[in-house]
Symmetry: C2
Subunit: 344 residues, 2 copies
DNA sequence: ATGAAAGCGCTAACAA
DNA sequence: TTGTTAGCGCTTTCAT
């Protein structure tokens, strides 16, 4: 019914010029307070709202940022997203969201499409497929266009931009070390994200810890898959080969599956086997036993990424001044590593 | 570096008029194929991409929809979101997302802000606070502005628009009936979402089932909270009062918490107590024992909502032709209700 | 203190 | 077949 009103209509109604209205609404010193009053009053009465599109077209700023998320069902990404949204809202930015579902093609087309003035900058996480194809030209094109870009979580050295990540190697190292200090002699490694560089880094951290403490890496105790399908079988096979007393899984659901397999074999967590997971999601808190896990501070990652991007957009930071922020992780101790006795 | 090129620049470079370029690029029959060729070639070479903003300003269509989500960390909403995104992408729409965090104020301000031409329509889920305040004028204002609106999951009768929901009463009724048929004599009801109308409906369905089968409703067996904080205590109190043999929880984490409480009292699920949850999220599959649960088909809800909205936007459906789609639910049977013997 | 006019990038009705 | 012009809603010189 009420359909929005324009500056032009206000001008006509009040018998003044369009520019007078514009200036009045923007509190220009040029306009008499009396005219301002009248105009503002009329505007308010008729619920005048400036047309964002016209504004954006004018000043080449949309106050909108593009968010690229590989998989919104992943709780970690949902956390990052909520961090981004918090800062974006606070600073008056809207978000256009694209879920790539780990597809290279989707990633390329949406980013190309958005990078024509629709958004002021991107916050993106590289999709699995892109990572495997190692094709990053679309990101570099974005950068060439002088569109600010912040990459989070999964990054790549051939893209020169702001980055917000965690130290995967170190985090995995510490988790593994924790298990060793806890007394575990045979520690397995389980990953269902071998397709991601972060997955590989975590494997690296695991090996590094073992080596550092003089334990030989037994490849038969490392399960490195790119998806979850075969997981149950592989874990069973591994347990047939050797009965481990500690497991480090690189994602949450792998830990849940490991627990189920162990239980089905009559083994108890943590009494027979201690487990540490990665990513402190909903599962970690609620499975039985609650999972000791590496917390990634997803919300924090999102917040930092958004702040950085907006600072770039608003020129508070020079476009070429790129930085890689490493967000700390923490080990949250829960019952999956709570034996009554703790050897060394 | 390459900064985007405009139609005007193409025109200048090729010594033709702006409109010729525009027409050529849009494959107008008015332009000679030779000129078209030249123009398109030049455009491609210089990576011309039309400015969406200018287009939107022109034809008053943004090809963008606004998505209002109360809480993105809630897996059900993440599912709905992914359903929306699937259809939106497929039909060439972008999404501007707003997470209200259950806040009335956030909901009002974002929707007001977006409803000025920035988006072509809304898909929204009413926030908890809004529901409690019972203030829905902002939705009606949207509708008055002739902006298409589709509400999902949490709706209200005083807002006259398209809706996509589930039948909460019926779903709860069936879940409760399942427990009775399964042999449960004392069935408890646990809710931590009493602040939502959907929560109340589910309680209603529970009672309806009991009554229908001649079981008297014992209020002391119903726990109806608006948050999760006190849950563990309340469940313990309830179990002190009476040892139930069946529990119907209206959300997923309540079920997980109930299982933890039962286990801590030395009770086993499903042998001592059978449990059915609501919303088939990540938890349901992975907790021990896996949870029998009412699946809500979140993705489907999102898809239907998006299709409906886009049909409205594109005028395939009359603006005032509102419809409420009721998406069926299903009971997924898992181990939390798998006693060896089944009476009745 | 107010207004006319140009322009942001593009489309479309109308001329030529 | 091509070009001129006006206009989408708004800002911003530059007159007046």
């Amino acid at each position: 019914m009420s359909k929005r009103i324009t500056i032009k209509q206000i001008a006509a109604a009040l018998h003044v010029s369009i520019s007078t209205v514009s200036k009045a609404l923007n509190d220009s010193y040029e306009i008499s307070s009396e005219t301002k009053r009248k105009i503002k009053e009329y505007a308010k009465k008729h619920k005048y709202k400036p047309n964002t599109l016209a504004l954006s077209l004018q000043n080449k700023k949309t106050k909108t940022i593009g968010i690229i998320i590989p998989d919104i069902l992943n709780h970690f990404f949902a956390r990052v997203f909520s961090g981004i949204e918090k800062v974006a809202t606070q600073k008056g930015y809207n978000m256009i969201t694209c879920i790539t579902n780990e597809s290279y093609h989707k990633e390329v087309t949406t980013m190309e499409m958005l990078d024509n003035g629709s958004i002021d900058g991107f916050i993106a996480c590289i999709s699995e497929e892109t990572l495997n194809l190692e094709k990053f030209e679309h990101f570099n094109r974005i950068i060439d266009n002088k569109t600010p870009l912040v990459l989070y979580d999964r990054v790549h050295k051939s893209i020169d931009c702001d980055k917000v990540v965690i130290d995967n190697i170190k985090s995995a190292y510490k988790a593994t070390r924790y298990l060793m200090r806890y007394g575990c002699k045979n520690i397995a490694f389980i990953s269902s994200i071998e397709g991601l560089n972060v997955g590989k880094f975590r494997a690296e951290g695991y090996k590094k810890a073992l080596t550092k403490y003089g334990v030989k890496v037994d490849e038969k105790l490392t399960i490195r898959l790119t998806k979850k399908e075969e997981l149950t079988n592989k874990i069973n096979e591994m347990l047939d080969y050797k009965l481990v007393d500690g497991i480090f899984t690189v994602d949450e659901s792998s830990a849940a599956i490991a627990i189920q397999v162990l239980n089905s074999r009559g083994l108890s967590v943590p009494d027979d086997v201690a487990i540490i997971g990665f990513t402190n999601g909903i599962l970690s808190k609620h499975i039985t036993p609650p999972l000791t896990t590496v917390n990634q501070f997803g919300t924090k990652i999102g917040e930092i990424a958004a702040s950085r991007l907006i600072d770039k957009i608003e020129g508070k930071i020079d476009f070429d001044d790129n930085k890689t922020e490493i967000i700390r992780t923490e080990l949250i101790e829960r019952s999956s590593t709570k034996k009554a006795f703790i050897k060394f």
